[in-house]
Amino acid sequence: MTATAAPTGLRGRIDQWFLSRRPPSDRLELTQRNVYIVPTAAGWMLLATVLVLLVASINYQLNLGYLLTFLLAGSAAVGMHISHATLRGLAMHLTPPEAQFAHAAAVFRVTLHNVRRSTRFGIGMAVRGSGHWAWTDVPAQGSCPVEIAFLPHRRGLHAMPPLTAETRFPLGTFRVWTVWRPAASLLVYPAPEAHPPPLPPGEPVAGQPTGAVARARAAGEYDGIRAYRRGDPLKLVVWKKAARAQAAGSDDLVSRDTQQAQREELWLDAQAAALPNEEARLSRLCAWVLMADRLGVDYGLRVAGRSVAPAQGEAHKRQCLEVLATC
C-alpha cells in the first residue's frame, strides 16, 4: 500500500494533488480529459532520425529523401493519434476485490470494455508504481478481463491503490497512460505466521467434565452423517457414500457428524500468542485460525478487547480474519 504512505518532497506532493483531482470510481471511461501522452526515448530517437534524414536530404538535394522523411514524419504523427485513441474511449470496470493476506501475491480483476469497431492492442495495466504489467488486447466491441498482480503490505481496510493503464502501441514512440482511483476498498488480513507453534490447549467449558470428550474424539465416535459443508476436513467425508453418489450422477458429498456438544472450547487468545510485537501476535493468531479451520474444530477468538464466540465454517473464519485485519 505504497500510495497511502505520507507524501515526501515536492514530487510526492504533486503526485498527491494529481491523484486528489481524480474522483474515485469503480468504473472509468477514458476520455480526452484523463488520457495523457508523452514521447518515449524511442520517440525522441525517431525525431532525431527524421531530423538527420531531413539534413541529408537538404545537403544532397534528394527530393526522394524529402518524400521518405516526410512520409516517416507523417506516419509517426498518425501513430501518435492511433496511440492516444487506443486508450481514449476505453471503459474499465473493477470487480470488487476479495480480501487478501498481507505479503501474499494477489490479483485485482479489471474488465476492459471496447465499444469501438476495431481491436485495441497492447494495453498494459498495473498497480501504479509497481511495474508489474499485465498486457492484453481488447477485442472489437467486446471486453476482456485483466488480472493485475499486486502485493498487499499492511493489514487493515484500505482504499484501493491507484491503478494505471498504459500503451505504447503502435510505434513505441509515445507513452499514453491514465491513472485510475477505484472507489472500492480492500481488506487485508495479517500475514499468517510461516511456522506457527501448535494450537493452544482447549479451555474447559464451565461446569462440564472434560476427559470423555477428548477420548470420544480421539476414538472417532460419530453421531451420524450430514450434507458436506464448505470447510469440512477431508477426513470427515464419507468417501464410500460419495463414490456411490457420483455413480448416480450427483456431486453431493456427505460428512460424518461429530458430537455437537463440546465440553472443551478452543480459544485463540492474543495473550496466549506469547509474543511481544503486536503484529507478530496477530500473524500467529491468523495462522492459528487457518490451522483450526483446517482441522475442523470449533474455535473462538479474543483479541484487542473483541471476541468472537467459538464456531466453525467459512463464515466464521472470515469473521475472525476480519477482526484480525481491522483490530
Binding site: T49, L53, Y60, Y66, G74, A77, V78, R168, G172
Partner: protein, 669 residues
C-alpha cells in the same frame, strides 16, 4: 543473397514460434532495403551483410542462442578496418553507406532488448535514404515504399505484446498509418522550402555524370547521365544577359591524342592573352559549389581577377582564372565580365602551331574531307569564316543528331561522327569540329564550361547545374584572334539558348517485348516514359521555382520563401484549430448515453410533453404513460431499459442495441 522471406513461406509462417517469425520478417525487410544498392557497395560489405543475415536467419529458425559479445566486437572491427581500407575514411558518403549497411546487419545479432530493436528500425530508415544517393528512379521509390511499410509493420508488430498476432494485422495498420500520413507528407513536400545545402556536400562519386573534369575522353561514355546537382549560382547585378551569350568558361583543351583532349602542357610556350573588351560590363556575384578543382568559373570573358577574399588567383593564357588551391567548400566571389571581346594574337605566330597538332594517321576521312573543303572556291575566297560557315551548314543539313546515348565510339572518333554515326552530344560534336578545322589548317581548340542555366524565381539567382556542362570550339582567324564557334548549336539549336534539355531515352524495355508485338512494345515504352517523365517532372525536379509557381497559382503575386513558410504555418494552424474544435465538439457530445437521452427528450417534446434537461428516464416513462396509456408501453419500456443500462449493477445492455431500437421505435403522438 538472402532467400529467406517469411512472407513467401506460409508453410513455415504457420508453424514458427513468434520470435522466429518476427525475426525472419525483419531480416527479409532488411534484405529488401539493401538489395537495390548491391551494385554500389564494396564486396566485403555485401559478403558481411549477406553472411550475417543468413546466419541470423539460421539461428532464428533453429531457435539457437545469439552469438556472444566477442563475435560482434570482432565483426565490428572487421567492418571499421575494411571501410578504412576501402575508402581511407569513415566519414565520406560512400564510407558512410557501407558502414550503415554493415552496422544494420551486425545489429541483428543483438536483437534482445526493445532498445536494440528500435536501433535496427532507425538504422533501417538511414539505409533506405542511402539508396537515393545512387538512384531516385520510380522503381527505387516503389521498392523503398515497400521497405518502409515493412519496417513500420515490424515496428507495429513489436508493440503487440500479446499472443501471436498475424503479421497481416500489423501490415494493415502500417498501411493505414502510411495512407493517413500521406497528406502530411504531401503538404510538407510541396511547401517545405527547398534551401541550399547547409554545408558543402562532399562531391565524391560524381564521376560518370555530366560536369567538368579538365580532360575530355571522346566517345568513351555510352550514356551520359544528366546530373541535376547545382554547379554554381549567379546573382546578376542588372538584367540577365541574353541566354546565348551565357558561356561560363572552364578549362581549355588543346592537346589531342586521338582519344582524349587535355590542357596544353603547362611548359609549352603560352600565347599572350592579348584581350580587348567592348561594351558595358556584366557585374555579378557567383557562388561556386565545391568542385575539388582549382578553376573559378566565370562568364566569358573576365579581364580582372574575381574578388574572392583569401584566395590567390592567376589568369591563364586561355583566359581561365585558376586558384592555387582546389575549391573544397562553397566559394563566393564577385566578378565583372564582358560578353563582347576579342582575344588572342591577330597575326599568325609560331605558338599557334600547338593548336594545329593532330595525331598522325588518325581520322583519315576527316582529313581528306578537310582538304576537299579547303580547295572549295568559296572557302578559298572567304578564308576561315567561310570554312566555318561551310562546316556549320554541313552540321545543320547533313542529318546530324544530338543524343545522350551515342554508344561507345571506335578509334577514329571524328570520322565516325562525321560519316557513320552522325549522332553524339556536345563533346563528340566539338571534338569532330576541331579535328576538321585543324585538318584544314585552322588553329582551333575546345573550351569546356557551362552554357545556359535557369532563373530561380524565389531568390532571383541564376542556377547553373552540372547538366549545363558544355563543350564548344574556338577557332583562330587572321586579324580577329580566337572566335567562339558552338557547333552543337548547329546540330541541336535547343541545346544552346533555351533551357530545354534532351531527356535521356531509357532503354529498359527495349527489345524485351519486340518478339511479341511491336506496337505493344511501343505502347509500353510510351507509357513507361510518360510515367517516368511525370515522376521526373513532379517529384525529382520539384524545385524552388516550382514551389513559387504553385504559390503564384494560389494567389501570391510575388511569392518568396517567407510566403512558403507562411502557408505551411497557416496549414499547421488550420489543422490544429480543426483538431481542437473537433475535440471540443467531441467533449460536449462525448457521452453517448446523454446524447440518446437528448434524442428521446426531443421525441417527447414532439409529442407535446415538456420535459426538462434534468428529467430522468423513469419520470419521462411515467409521463408518457399518463398521457398515452397503453400506447406508450413500448416507449416507456425502452426508457426504463435506458435507465437500467446506466444505473443497474448487472451486466449492462449494449447502448448500441438501445440506439438501434430507438430508431425503430414508434413514438406515440
Amino acid at each position: 543473397m538472402l532467400t529467406v522471406k517469411p512472407r513467401l513461406a506460409p508453410r513455415w509462417g504457420g508453424a514458427l514460434p513468434r520470435d522466429a517469425r518476427d525475426t525472419l520478417f525483419l531480416l527479409g525487410v532488411i534484405a529488401l532495403i539493401v538489395l537495390p544498392q548491391v551494385s554500389n557497395l564494396p564486396w566485403w560489405c555485401l559478403v558481411l551483410a549477406a553472411g550475417v543475415l543468413a546466419w541470423r536467419a539460421r539461428l532464428a529458425l533453429q531457435s539457437k542462442p545469439l552469438p556472444g559479445k566477442w563475435w560482434r566486437v570482432a565483426l565490428l572491427a572487421v567492418t571499421i578496418g575494411a571501410t578504412l581500407a576501402t575508402h581511407r575514411t569513415l566519414l565520406g558518403r560512400d564510407a558512410g553507406v557501407a558502414m550503415v549497411v554493415a552496422l544494420l546487419a551486425l545489429k541483428t545479432l543483438e536483437l534482445r532488448a526493445r532498445r536494440d530493436a528500435m536501433v535496427i528500425f532507425f538504422l533501417g530508415f538511414f539505409a533506405m535514404l542511402t539508396n537515393f544517393f545512387y538512384s531516385q528512379s520510380l522503381l527505387t521509390a516503389l521498392a523503398m515504399l515497400l521497405a518502409l511499410l515493412g519496417l513500420l509493420t515490424a515496428l507495429v508488430n513489436a508493440h503487440m505484446p500479446v499472443g501471436r498476432p498475424p503479421l497481416m494485422q500489423a501490415a494493415r495498420l502500417a498501411g493505414l498509418m502510411a495512407l493517413l500520413g500521406a497528406p502530411i507528407m504531401l503538404a510538407l513536400f510541396v511547401l517545405f522550402p527547398r534551401i541550399a545545402p547547409l554545408w558543402g556536400t562532399p562531391n565524391d562519386a560524381m564521376t560518370g555524370r555530366s560536369g567538368l573534369s579538365g580532360t575530355m575522353r571522346v566517345g568513351a561514355i555510352a550514356q551520359l547521365a544528366l546530373d541535376n546537382g547545382i554547379a554554381a549560382r549567379v546573382k546578376f547585378d542588372g538584367a540577365v544577359p541574353a541566354r546565348n551569350t551565357l558561356y561560363f568558361r572552364g578549362p581549355v583543351l588543346a592537346r589531342f591524342d586521338g582519344r582524349e583532349w587535355r590542357e596544353l602542357n603547362p611548359f609549352a610556350r603560352a600565347l599572350p592573352a592579348d584581350l580587348e573588351v567592348r561594351g558595358p560590363p556584366v557585374r555579378y556575384q557567383m557562388t561556386l559549389e565545391a568542385s575539388q578543382r582549382p578553376w573559378l568559373i566565370t562568364l566569358d570573358v573576365t579581364p580582372q581577377a574575381p574578388q574572392a577574399p583569401g584566395i590567390d588567383l592567376r589568369q591563364t593564357a586561355d583566359l581561365l582564372w585558376v586558384s592555387t588551391q582546389p575549391v573544397r567548400d562553397l566559394l563566393r566571389y564577385r566578378a565583372e565580365s564582358y560578353t563582347q571581346f576579342r582575344s588572342g594574337p591577330t597575326q599568325r605566330v609560331p605558338a599557334l602551331r600547338s593548336y594545329l597538332a593532330l595525331p598522325p594517321g588518325g581520322n583519315p576521312r576527316t582529313v581528306a574531307w578537310a582538304e576537299q573543303l579547303r580547295a572549295d572556291p568559296a572557302v578559298l575566297a572567304g578564308g576561315t569564316p567561310a570554312l566555318v560557315r561551310a562546316a556549320m551548314r554541313h552540321l545543320r543539313t547533313g542529318g546530324y543528331e544530338y543524343t545522350l546515348e551515342p554508344g561507345v565510339y571506335g578509334d577514329n572518333t571524328a570520322d565516325e561522327f562525321w560519316f557513320d554515326r552522325k549522332a553524339g552530344f556536345c563533346e563528340h560534336i566539338a571534338s569532330a569540329f576541331v579535328v576538321l578545322m585543324r585538318a584544314a589548317g585552322v588553329p582551333a581548340r575546345i573550351v569546356t564550361g557551362y552554357q545556359g542555366g535557369e532563373l530561380n524565381g524565389v531568390d532571383g539567382y541564376w542556377v547553373i547545374r552540372q547538366s549545363d556542362a558544355h563543350a564548344w570550339a574556338e577557332v583562330w582567324e587572321e586579324g580577329q584572334g580566337w572566335v567562339r564557334v558552338d557547333p552543337t548549336s548547329a546540330v541541336s539549336p535547343g541545346r544552346v539558348g533555351t533551357f530545354q534539355r534532351l531527356a535521356p531515352e531509357p532503354g529498359v524495355f527495349a527489345g524485351a517485348f519486340d518478339a511479341m508485338s511491336p506496337t505493344l512494345t511501343q505502347n509500353l515504352r510510351a507509357a513507361w516514359e510518360a510515367v517516368n517523365n511525370s515522376w521526373n517532372q513532379w517529384v525529382l525536379n520539384y524545385t524552388q521555382g516550382r514551389q513559387l509557381d504553385l504559390l503564384k497559382k494560389i494567389g501570391f503575386s510575388a511569392p518568396s520563401m517567407q510566403d512558403l513558410i507562411t502557408v505551411l504555418l497557416g496549414l499547421v494552424i488550420a489543422v490544429s484549430l480543426g483538431g481542437a474544435l473537433w475535440t471540443l465538439w467531441e467533449r460536449s457530445q462525448h457521452d453517448p448515453w446523454l446524447r440518446l437521452l437528448g434524442k428521446a427528450r426531443a421525441r417527447l417534446r414532439d409529442a407535446g410533453i415538456d420535459v426538462g434537461e434534468a428529467t430522468p428516464p423513469r419520470e419521462m416513462a411515467a409521463r408518457l404513460g399518463q398521457r398515452f396509456g397503453a400506447n406508450a408501453d413500448l416507449a416507456s419500456d425502452w426508457l426504463l431499459r435506458l435507465e437500467s443500462q446506466r444505473y443497474a449493477r448487472s451486466a449492462p445492455l449494449a447502448l448500441s442495441a438501445l440506439r438501434a431500437e430507438f430508431t425503430r421505435l414508434a413514438w406515440p403522438r
